[in-house]
């Protein structure tokens, strides 16, 4: 019984420590306003595709920040997923498939092989804009589902691309995880560590009670 108890205590301690570490990491990563920012790895001159599985997976707007390389431009187009798929066809694109939270970066996969995609000549986009300086586009969920494609200017590489989601509740949840972790650590430690036994002074029945009552 004591062994099982100690084993459970160790489990609680480990779970608590894990919660404290994970909660602390997330609290530091998210900050007090709960902002998760992920950088898209460099894709060279290949356009980057953001599909509904990325843009519309939460109820929160996504902030996409595009930074063209100095002296070049980038075209940002947003449209219906089926329209974007019809336009892109077999053109080479780098598709954002998810995020690696620990690396704070997005994950990519390459698709298609054809070159010569020209977004500017196409009349299917809900919005399209050409930018030459760092630009943030807020993708609202009211128009979901939608697909975004970011294409660097002709012959140029895309400078940088980041995706940002914000929810203050995420920071609060990280704090709750830390709190729960601390409680589990304390509970586990209390179960594992041997308790100090209180040594009471042995008492003799009648001690002091009968003093002075002995009749000589």
């Amino acid at each position: 019984m004591l062994l099982i108890k100690r084993l459970l205590g160790a489990l609680l301690l480990a779970a608590g420590l894990a919660l404290v570490v994970v909660g602390g990491w997330f609290a530091a990563f998210l900050g007090s306003n709960g902002t998760a920012r992920f950088a898209v790895p460099p894709t060279g001159s290949t356009p980057v595709l953001l599909e509904p599985a990325i843009l519309n997976r939460t109820a929160h707007p996504v902030r996409v920040t595009v930074t063209p390389k100095a002296g070049s431009t980038a075209t940002i187009a947003i449209g219906a997923p089926s329209d974007a798929a019809a336009v892109i066809g077999d053109h080479a694109v780098a598709v954002v498939t998810g995020v690696d939270v620990r690396a704070k970066s997005a994950t990519l996969t390459r698709r298609g092989s054809a070159s010569g995609l020209d977004l500017g000549l196409v009349d299917v986009w809900r919005t399209t804009r050409s930018v030459s300086a760092p630009t943030t586009v807020v993708v609202d969920q009211a128009d979901a589902p939608q697909t975004m494609i970011i294409q660097p200017g002709s012959g140029a590489d895309l400078g940088a691309l980041t995706l940002t989601w914000s929810d203050p509740a995420w920071f609060r949840e990280a704090l709750v995880a830390i709190g729960v972790g601390v409680i589990l650590v304390l509970a586990g430690a209390r179960t594992i560590l041997p308790r100090r036994r209180r040594h009471r002074a042995p008492t003799t029945a009648g001690d002091g009670i009968n003093q002075g009552t002995v009749v000589a």
């Binding site: 019984m1 099982i4 108890k5 459970l8 205590g9 489990l11 609680l12 779970a15 599909e51 509904p52 599985a53 843009l55 519309n56 997976r57 939460t58 109820a59 929160h60 219906a80 997923p81 089926s82 329209d83 019809a86 336009v87 066809g89 000549l121 196409v122 009349d123 299917v124 986009w125 809900r126 919005t127 979901a144 589902p145 929810d167 995420w170 949840e173 589990l184 509970a187 179960t191």
Partner: protein
């Protein structure tokens, strides 16, 4: 008392171990991406207005440009509008000075719905005191909208009300 505590700790450890599955999705608020409506309007009102204005600009250049520029005509015109542009002595509607006078602003009347092609835009505009209807057609995803038909409207003519564009 000790046994009760042990069972309590066991239950807590079980809940923690089993509850780990699926927690991240719920905490973050992940959901499946919404699906596309069955017959969405092909463009928003703003985008459709920009597209129709751009298509009309190209059509005006092609219609009034040199007769030898066949490529420009075919890239901007389609159907009756293209046939009209290809004749040497172009038809000029009464009250107009050339085959297609570019209006200062276009009012969008309707867009087709659904994911397929061809797609249509219907617009109207007034140029040289003549109100006209313009039909633009997009044959596939990678081809821009082209002017297909221009119809001058007679005084008092009207068209049925169409769904409001958003």
């Amino acid at each position: 008392m000790t046994r009760r505590r042990t069972w309590g700790a066991l239950a807590l450890a079980g809940v923690l171990a089993a509850g780990g599955c699926g927690i991240p999705d719920r905490v973050v608020g992940l959901r499946a991406a919404p699906t596309v409506p069955s017959d969405p309007a092909i463009l928003t009102a703003t985008a459709a207005r920009q597209v129709s204005q751009r298509a009309l600009d190209r059509a005006s250049e092609a219609m009034t440009g040199p007769d030898a520029d066949e490529a420009a005509r075919k890239s901007a015109l389609l159907g009756p509008a293209l046939r009209l542009a290809e004749v040497k002595d172009k038809f000029v509607a009464e009250g107009r000075t050339n085959a297609l006078t570019l209006p200062p602003a276009v009012t969008l009347l309707g867009v087709s719905r659904g994911p397929g092609w061809p797609r249509y835009l219907l617009a109207t505009a007034q140029a040289e005191d003549v109100q006209s209807l313009y039909v633009f057609v997009q044959t596939d995803a990678t081809t821009p909208f082209k002017l297909q038909t221009t119809v001058p409207m007679e005084p008092g003519a009207s068209i049925p009300a169409m769904p409001l564009l958003t």
